[in-house]
Structure formats: structure tokens, C-alpha cells
């Protein structure tokens, strides 16, 4: 245990001066990075923002610390303070020691000795983090030049190619001459990692390194980070809001809230034995992709604290269901949890929270809502939306004056599905798979479209004049991804909600009544109708967006990534609301989301799209538990689960490369270029995949099922498009994490 990373000081109580003193005397000398009592304050127009309030941790060589928190919790500011990259106006105090040498207070020039050398960082957005005007090779070589001025040009080139190969970029020697815009997002993040590990750093800080990436690419990048850590032996600080991402990687976790660490400890302790209500809430708020049972998510009501005011009580108390008088008397310090070594929690009730306390009881998660349609078999319910062979092809042209058609981008290629009353149908897939185009095609509703869209019995082929379209709009409404961008900032909530009603020809009295109803329905206070959108939090804004969509009583609501812009704790509340509305109002949803855990939680049926085609479709639990198509299997295995034990042992399929350009789409199966099954097939069978397009076919009932049932066999609701669903997987693409370097404490 002593070789493990320790979080939290030995004696956390006492004045900052004392703690610094203690740190100086007792900090383990073998820690590569020790942070003590780190405070960061910014001057803003409204006053001093105290963004980080006392962070302590020790990072041991080769270990990984996960810092988890929501936006505004101070996790990124902490990392930038360690790197010395905060603006000069930031007021930083405390101590940051890298192998015993103090970093705080060093000049920009002195700090440069450490940055990129012993201490390096990978940032969140790979698209903007590389200089667009220099080649990738130049940018990697630069990192080498700065710290090794004597290194020869040739040596730098060799090393740069070696680094690119290490992070898994094919033909690295040629790619050195490429510019960042010639790389995809995932490739750019690999380059960022290559730059960060160029000088074999002792500490690597990764700030949300995969947040901007697709799940399959996220799995690749996490794997690369893992390799990089093994190659360099660096200690890693992994900053994330996603509890799944760190579950498999981290040795220790620090949960931050309101600028302060509220719980620290070994990873298993935090996930299986959390002692701070906020951590418990966070864990309960994320849906699990590997769990079929439907329990409501834990919503954490309220908003994160305003860091302008120095808290006088526990900063989580206003949102905490367990808060009592005692919680308001001063902010609790990070104290050791009795009986559990190295586990600290900043909660006066942490002792009582151990054992088998159920999160759902503490946070009063609402009961699972039941829809009146649930009892009716699917076949007997009315169809609210039907797509028949929808196609959207974009011509790709070349030349400025005389355009030549050089190819076709098949954004959506022959899509058919239907949605019945009271069900939630989801479309999942990587970016570029055609999810959004599908939604746009449905909203387009035009006679000249390729394919038929039937909404509530109105077909785009028969009546697509403005009257029919108006009638259609009353059947179908949309909720958008970014709640801030989708609401007019100059409209009050009342005006936002009144607009669709006026459009429907309602009178003033009726509109007023309906708006009050809507506000209550989505859990907002009716007397807030005269406020502007910017006076609400992100979650509340999304509720306004939902209310607007529901105003005209539609049968079908199209949800385009409805929770992806929200923090985890807020997301849970919105998901619960959507669940409740579907049950109470008998709504149907068409959901597009990249977060498969959310999809599993609220959907009844799901379609997996790849390059404009559905590769697998069916009942959600069947598809998630017994995926047949290799792409579905890869997609599901790419999702990290917030459960360290599962993460450490499960087998993962890591797809090679990115989504191919639609121009290079193969003739036969679209997925053949990345398919783990295809790669392991004998050439004769590969030929079939390459030349023939697999049709979307129902899963044949197993022999056992046939034997059991007498008479007609019920066909399970699952169809997929693959010739060899039971084929062996290519071993190169399978990854099982090594048990040896992640022994459970």
C-alpha cells in the first residue's frame, strides 16, 4: 500500500502555514509531483473568483491520478496552475513541487525548463491545439529542439517518426510532412500525445483528452495514452468529467466540487465505497451501458456554488439531500474516513455513509414511470413515424467554373424504420455516420425527397403543401443539442413558449394557461416566465427547450443530442424528465445521441448507423446485450464503464483508423475496412464481404428456442447486416488490460 499514490495530506487540519510546514517535512520524497494547499484566485468584474481552494495531492512515479469534477469545479485551473500556464492576472498560492523542486513563483523563462520536458500536458480540443501553419513534424521537432538544442536535424526526424509510430499513426515518415488539417481529430490528439511524451516526461497531465472525440476514437486515444505511460513511465494526472474514462486507468481519484477536493482515495474505494454525498450522486447520475434494469437516475438538484463568495458552509449543502443544521456550520475539511486507509472525504457524515447505503434512497430518485402503452404489444400500437428507403446523396464536384462530378457522398443510403406510439427510438453511430442528416431529412418533409416520410399518417409524397407541413409540424417537434444557442436571447420564456401556440392560432387566454401548464410540466417555476434565457442554468434552458417542443402537443419529439451539452448531475434530471413525459403524455421520441449509456437508459429500440446505413436495429436490450454486427460490438466495447473491476478485466475491441471518407466507401460491406471479423477471415470469405452488400436480416431464432416452442416461433426484434456475425475477431484489435499493472488495493 505504501507504494501507492497518496492523496490528501497526512494531517489535513490546521492552518495553511502549518500544512505547508508539514508538507515540507513529511512529504514523501519519492513523489514526482506534490501539490500542497493550492489556491487560485481570479479578479473578475464582479469580484474575486476563488477558482481553486486548497488542493493537495502526491503523485508517485508511474501512477495515475484521476481528477473528476463538473464544469467550474476547478479541475482545469488546477492543471494549468501546475503547468504555470494561467494568465499573469491569476493569483496563485500554495506549493507545487516537481521532484522536490518548487515550481510556483518561477518566472515564465525558468518554468520553460520543466514544461514539455519533465512536465507535459495534453489538452482537450485537438482541432485547435496544433498550429495550423506548421507541419506535424516541425511541431514535434520543436518540442525536441527546445530541450535538446544540440540534437542533430536527422536525429530529431528519426525521433519524431518514432514518436508518431508509438502513438499509432501509420506510415509515420510520410505523415511528418503533413499539416494538422490533413489529420482527423483522433489523429491530431495522437500527435498531441506524441509531442507531450517527446522528452520522456515524469508527469503527464491530460485535461479531458477524449471529450471532443467519438467513442471508438476515444477508446483508441485512451489506449495510446496507456501505451505512452508504459513507454515513458510517466505519472499521469487525468482530468475528466466522465467517471467511466478514469475507472480503468486511475490508481487514485480526487473528486472536486466548487474548487475544492471533496473526496480522495484509491479508485476502488471511491467507486464502491463513496463517503461523500456528491460522489455518490455523481455515480448514481450516470446511466450504465452494461445494465439492462431500468431504475431512475439520481438527479442532483440545484446549481454548483458561485465561487465569488467565500463559502461559510459545506458548498454542497444546498444540493445535498442529507444536509442538516450541522452542515451549515463551517466548511468541512477533508478528513480521513475512519477505518479506511488513504480515503478522505469532506463530509461530516462520511462515517454514516459507509456500507450498504443506497444512493437512490438518499437522493430520492423518482420512481420509474410507466407508460400506458407499455402493456400494449408493439404491433398493435399506431405508427407515428415511418421512413421508407430514405436516401440523401450529395454530389462531390471539382473545378470552379465547370463543375465535374467526381463522386457521391452517400450521407443517408436507403434508410427504413418506423416508430410506434409511446416508444423511444434511438439512432447511434460515430460522427459522419448520417444521424443528423436523417433528422434533417425528416424535418425537410418535401415531395422531391428520395424516399417516403410518413408522419402521423401524413406522407410527404401525397400532400406536401404548406397546410400539410403545418399539420405535420404539430405532430413532430424538435429539441436541439445546445440549449443556449437554440433559444433567442432577446425573447422571454413566455415569448419563446407563446410563439408556437400563436402559430397554431390559440387565443391569448388559452396561451397563458397552456404556458403555465408547460412550465409546471417540465419542472420550472411558473412565475419565471418573464425571465430571459440567460437567467437560467443549462439544465433549465434545456427544460425550456423541451417545453417549447411540447407546446403544440406533438405525438413525436425529435431529440438531437438533448443532454450532451449538460453536466452529469444536471443531465440526470433532464433524462428523468424525458422519461416521465414519455410515460405521462404518451409521447414517442426519436433520439440521436453519441452517449450509448444514455441511449440504453431511455430507449426501447435502437438503430446503429455506419456510413449512411443501418447495420443493426432492434430492441435495445437485445442489441446491447447480444450485439450481432461487429461494428455494434466494437461500439459497445469502446464505452468505458464507471466500474473499476469491470474496466480492468473486460475485453475491448479497438477499431483501427477513422471512419473512412465516404468517397472510398467499399463496394460491398461498408465496414469491411475496419472490421475486426473481416481482418481474421480467410481470403475466400473476405471476397464475399468486399463484393456483396450484406442485407439487413432478422436474427434467426436459436435452435434451442425453436425446440422449446411448439408452433410458430416468435422472431426476436433484432436485425443486422453482416455475413459472418460469429466470425473470430482479429487478435490485434482485442485489448485486455494487463492485470499486473493495475492490482486492486
Amino acid at each position: 500500500m505504501s507504494s501507492e499514490t497518496t492523496t490528501g495530506p497526512a494531517e489535513p487540519t490546521g492552518s495553511p502555514v502549518e500544512r505547508l510546514h508539514v508538507a515540507g517535512l513529511h512529504s514523501p520524497t519519492d513523489a514526482v509531483l506534490s501539490v500542497r494547499d493550492l489556491h487560485v484566485r481570479f479578479n473578475s468584474e464582479n469580484g474575486v473568483v476563488h477558482a481553486v481552494r486548497g488542493v493537495d495531492f502526491d503523485l508517485m512515479p508511474g501512477k495515475t491520478l484521476g481528477i473528476v469534477g463538473e464544469s467550474g469545479s476547478g479541475k482545469s485551473v488546477t492543471s494549468l496552475a501546475i503547468m504555470g500556464l494561467l494568465p499573469g492576472t491569476a493569483d496563485i498560492s500554495g506549493s507545487v513541487r516537481l521532484r522536490g523542486r518548487e515550481l510556483l513563483g518561477l518566472s515564465d523563462k525558468a518554468m520553460c525548463e520543466y514544461r514539455g520536458n519533465e512536465l507535459s500536458m495534453v489538452f482537450q480540443d485537438p482541432l485547435s491545439s496544433l498550429t495550423p501553419v506548421y507541419t506535424v513534424g516541425t511541431q514535434i521537432s520543436e518540442a525536441l529542439t527546445i530541450h535538446n538544442p544540440t540534437m542533430s536535424r536527422h536525429a530529431k526526424e528519426v525521433r519524431a517518426a518514432e514518436l508518431l509510430a508509438m502513438v499509432g499513426i501509420p506510415s509515420p515518415n510520410d505523415r511528418l510532412k503533413a499539416f494538422p488539417h490533413e489529420f482527423s481529430g483522433g489523429m491530431r490528439q495522437r500527435v498531441m500525445i506524441a509531442i507531450a511524451i517527446a522528452n520522456n516526461p515524469r508527469v503527464l497531465i491530460a485535461d479531458e483528452p477524449t471529450t471532443a472525440l467519438d467513442v471508438t476514437i476515444q477508446a483508441q486515444v485512451l489506449e495510446v495514452l496507456h501505451t505512452a505511460q508504459e513507454e515513458t513511465g510517466a505519472a499521469v494526472v487525468m482530468i475528466t468529467h466522465d467517471l467511466g474514462v478514469v475507472a480503468g486507468m486511475a490508481d487514485d481519484i480526487m473528486v472536486m466540487y466548487g474548487g475544492k477536493p471533496v473526496e480522495t482515495g484509491p479508485v476502488d474505494e471511491i467507486y464502491y465505497n463513496p463517503r461523500m454525498p456528491y460522489t455518490m450522486g455523481l455515480l448514481g447520475a450516470v446511466p450504465r451501458v452494461d445494465a439492462a434494469e431500468k431504475s431512475s437516475l439520481v438527479p442532483i438538484e440545484g446549481m454548483p456554488p458561485n465561487l465569488l463568495h467565500e463559502p461559510t458552509a459545506c458548498s454542497f449543502a444546498p444540493r445535498c439531500p442529507l444536509a442538516s443544521e450541522a452542515c451549515l456550520a463551517g466548511e468541512p475539511a477533508l478528513a480521513p474516513v475512519p477505518g479506511v486507509p488513504r480515503h478522505h472525504a469532506a463530509c461530516i457524515k462520511s462515517e454514516a455513509l459507509g456500507g450498504d447505503v443506497d444512493v437512490l434512497d438518499i437522493f430520492a430518485a423518482p420512481p420509474v414511470p410507466a407508460s400506458r402503452f407499455d402493456a400494449i404489444p408493439r404491433d398493435e400500437r399506431a405508427t407515428v413515424l415511418q421512413l421508407k428507403d430514405i436516401r440523401k446523396h450529395f454530389p462531390l464536384t471539382k473545378g470552379s467554373l465547370l463543375k465535374r462530378r467526381i463522386g457521391t457522398v452517400k450521407a443517408v443510403d436507403g434508410l427504413s424504420f418506423d416508430i410506434r406510439e409511446g416508444e423511444c427510438f434511438s439512432i447511434v453511430g460515430e460522427s459522419g455516420s448520417g444521424k443528423t442528416t436523417t433528422l434533417l431529412e425528416i424535418m425537410e418533409f418535401h415531395k422531391d425527397q428520395d424516399g417516403e416520410v410518413v408522419i402521423g399518417g401524413i406522407s410527404n409524397k401525397q400532400a406536401a403543401d404548406s397546410r400539410a407541413r403545418n399539420a405535420m409540424r404539430r405532430e413532430l417537434q424538435m429539441v436541439f443539442q445546445d440549449p443556449t444557442g437554440a433559444l433567442d436571447p432577446r425573447f422571454t420564456v413566455y415569448e419563446v413558449l407563446a410563439e408556437p401556440l400563436q402559430n397554431a392560432g390559440m387565443d391569448r387566454q388559452a396561451i397563458r394557461k397552456r404556458i403555465m401548464e408547460l412550465m409546471k410540466l417540465v419542472g420550472l417555476q411558473p412565475d419565471h416566465v418573464n425571465r430571459f434565457p440567460n437567467q437560467f442554468s443549462g439544465g433549465q434552458r434545456q427544460r425550456i427547450g423541451i417545453a417549447r417542443a411540447l407546446a403544440v402537443n406533438p405525438k413525436l419529439v425529435v431529440l438531437d443530442e438533448p443532454v450532451s451539452a449538460l453536466d452529469v448531475s444536471v443531465q440526470a434530471g433532464v433524462i428523468n424528465l424525458l422519461d416521465k413525459l414519455r410515460a405521462e403524455l404518451g409521447l414517442s421520441y426519436l433520439l440521436v445521441a453519441h452517449d450509448l449509456s444514455v441511449v440504453r437508459h431511455i430507449s426501447n429500440r435502437v438503430a446503429v448507423m455506419y456510413l449512411g446505413k443501418i447495420v443493426e436495429i432492434g430492441e435495445v436490450d437485445r442489441v446491447f446485450d447480444q450485439p450481432r454486427h461487429p461494428y455494434t460490438r466494437a461500439l459497445l466495447s469502446a464505452i468505458p464503464v464507471p466500474d473499476p473491476q469491470v474496466e480492468r478485466t473486460r475485453e475491448r475491441i479497438i477499431l483501427k483508423g477513422d471512419l473512412p471518407s465516404p468517397l472510398d466507401a467499399p463496394k460491398g460491406c461498408n465496414f469491411a475496412t475496419r472490421c475486426p471479423v473481416y481482418a481474421a477471415l480467410p481470403p475466400a470469405k473476405q471476397e464475399k464481404c468486399r463484393t456483396l452488400e450484406p442485407p439487413l436480416e432478422a436474427v434467426a431464432p436459436s435452435a434451442a428456442a425453436r425446440a422449446l416452442e411448439a408452433g410458430p416461433v416468435s422472431v426476436p426484434d433484432q436485425r443486422f447486416a453482416c455475413f459472418f456475425p460469429d466470425g473470430e475477431l482479429e487478435e490485434d484489435m482485442l485489448v485486455v488490460q494487463d492485470q499486473a499493472d493495475h492490482h486492486a488495493p
Binding site: 520536458n117 496544433l130 501553419v133 520543436e142
Partner: protein, 327 residues
């Protein structure tokens, strides 16, 4: 790259032809030099005027289209841009004028660009500090003050220097002193004539570049890739000069295209105030003298300068920005 530039060059050639043709047709149907001839004393008879015009190739009796064809044929076959109503040959005068304009503006254009961009970088690196406030305030002032007034002020300053020294160091008008022999004396005389207009035009001109460069650089100073560069171990200033500067220069390079022609062809005030008879003053004079051929020639010249500026900008953009490089 060469093919790309050749293609752009061809596009601009077509553009120059179109603007010049349109300009000629407009000039020939509105400008009537014959009317001015009639104000002479003794007043010539209409026949005399018509004959004199016909001899200079400015026959007022032909239709605009016929004259256009005649004019175009002369240019294409003999590179003859016609004559002015006073009998002067456009070709001869044009060469002189362009040479004068070029000498007047070339040095200041280069100085304006270099000083403007350098000050923009300097002030951006010291945002809101004293130096930045002084430089940027000056740039806005230079923006606001009408150019003629600024030129007069510089002239006054030069005269003050001359007076306080008690000797004529600077010439505030004119191109050269007549009758000075070649050699050192001529060189000193040239410098004395050059100094005042060059300084005046530069002082007024750099403001726009400074403001633009400062703005674009500030947009990039806090860019993610500058943070990456700093995380690699560059100091803030190194990261800015190596990474942000080049990216921020892309839009500035593009704006050059549109300032060069404005200075060259629109330098009317500078040419008048410093008494350098260049293209700018010629174009204004041509219109007041109802001189169809001279007016069209200056217009064609303006288009050519614009095309050169635009090609230079394309070239500069291609140099600094790999994203627009064509394979």
C-alpha cells in the same frame, strides 16, 4: 504553384479588359472635349474643332462603339493609347506619370507595411500597457485626420526645421531642383525632395496595418495552439512570435491587395500637395479636361495595380498558410 498564379493572372487580365472597356465606353459617351475647344478666343468654328479633333483621333461624329473599336485596334496592334485633346501622346505622358507615382509611393508603401505590422505586434504583446495605448491611439488619430491636413502638418514641420536650422534641408514640394549636375549633389537633392512626402505618407498610412495586425494577433495570443507551444517549453513571447504571429499575418497579407491600388491611384492629394505630377492628379485633371483617352488609361493603370496587389496577396497567403496551398 506557377500554374495557379498563371491562372489567376489570366482571370485578372480578363477583369482588366472588362473594366477598361466599360470605362472607355462611359468616358466616350459623357466626356465632350469639343465643347471645351469652343471656349477658346478667338472661338473656332465647329468645322475647325471637328477637324482638329479628327486629326487627334477624337472624332466627335463617330458613334461611341466605332470609336471604341478604333481605340482598341490601336492599342492591340500598335500599343497606342491615343492622344489628349491638347495633342499630347498618352503613351509618352503615361510613362512619365507612372514613374513619378512609383517613386513617390513605393518607399512609403514598404515602410508603411513594415512599420505598421511591427508596431501591431509590439503593441499586441503589450496589450493595455502604456506603449500600446500610445501607439494605438496614434493609429486611430491617423485614421481620423484627413490625409491632406496631415500632409500639410508634416510640411509645416519640415519648414520649421528648415527655419530653425537656418538652411533649407528639406524641400516640401517638387521632385528635384533643376540644373543640379549628376553625382553626390544630385543624390542629396533627391533625398531632400523625397524625405517630406515619404515621411508624410508613411505617418498617415501605417495606422490601418497597426490596428489590423494588433487585432488579429490578439485574437491568436490566447489560442489553444499558443498554449500548446508554451506547454512544449517555449516562453510566452517565443510562442507568440513563432506560432501566433504567422497565423495572424494571414488576414493582413490579404488586406495588402486592397490598400496598394488605393494608395497608387488614389494618391491625388499627396501628388497635388507635394507637387509631384503623378497618375493620381493626372486622372482628376483628365476628367476636368474632358480627356477620354487619358481618363481610360489611368483607369486601366488602376486595374493593373489592383491585379498586381491581389496576386501579391495570393502569393503571400499561399506562402504563410499551407491550408490554401493548391496541389
Amino acid at each position: 504553384m506557377l500554374r495557379y498564379l498563371a491562372r489567376r493572372g489570366l482571370t485578372y487580365l480578363v477583369m482588366i479588359f472588362l473594366t477598361t472597356s466599360a470605362g472607355y465606353l462611359l468616358a466616350v459617351s459623357t466626356l465632350k472635349p469639343a465643347l471645351l475647344e469652343q471656349e477658346r478666343i478667338p472661338r473656332p468654328t465647329p468645322e475647325q474643332v471637328a477637324t482638329s479633333m479628327r486629326l487627334k483621333g477624337l472624332d466627335p461624329d463617330l458613334s461611341p462603339w466605332e470609336r471604341y473599336v478604333e481605340w482598341l485596334t490601336a492599342i492591340v496592334t500598335r500599343w497606342d493609347w491615343g492622344r489628349s485633346p491638347n495633342g499630347a501622346y498618352i503613351n509618352a505622358e503615361f510613362g512619365d506619370r507612372v514613374w513619378i507615382s512609383t517613386r513617390l509611393f513605393l518607399a512609403s508603401i514598404i515602410l508603411t507595411l513594415v512599420i505598421g505590422v511591427a508596431l501591431g505586434v509590439y503593441s499586441a504583446a503589450r496589450q493595455y500597457k502604456f506603449q500600446d495605448r500610445v501607439i494605438t491611439s496614434y493609429s486611430y488619430l491617423a485614421y481620423i485626420v484627413p490625409a491632406p491636413i496631415a500632409y500639410f502638418l508634416v510640411q509645416l514641420g519640415a519648414i520649421n526645421i528648415n527655419e530653425s536650422v537656418g538652411e533649407r534641408i528639406f524641400f516640401v514640394t517638387g521632385i528635384s531642383t533643376p540644373g543640379i549636375g549628376p553625382g553626390w549633389a544630385q543624390f542629396v537633392d533627391m533625398l531632400a525632395h523625397y524625405a517630406v512626402p515619404t515621411v508624410a505618407i508613411t505617418l498617415v498610412g501605417w495606422g490601418s496595418y497597426q490596428i489590423a495586425q494588433r487585432q488579429y494577433l490578439l485574437d491568436n495570443v490566447n489560442a489553444d495552439f499558443v498554449r500548446t507551444a508554451r506547454a512544449k517549453g517555449l516562453t510566452r513571447n517565443q510562442a507568440i512570435t513563432r506560432h501566433a504571429l504567422r497565423v495572424s499575418f494571414i488576414p493582413v497579407a490579404q488586406s495588402i491587395a486592397f490598400t496598394i491600388p488605393a494608395i497608387f491611384a488614389g494618391g491625388f492629394f499627396a501628388e497635388k500637395i507635394f507637387a509631384w505630377p503623378g497618375v493620381g492628379s493626372w486622372s482628376i485633371d483628365a476628367i476636368s479636361l474632358q480627356d477620354v483617352n487619358a481618363a481610360t488609361a489611368t483607369l486601366a493603370y488602376g486595374s493593373v495595380i489592383f491585379a498586381i496587389g491581389a496576386i501579391l496577396a495570393d502569393f503571400a497567403t499561399t506562402l504563410v498558410d499551407p491550408r490554401v496551398r493548391v496541389q
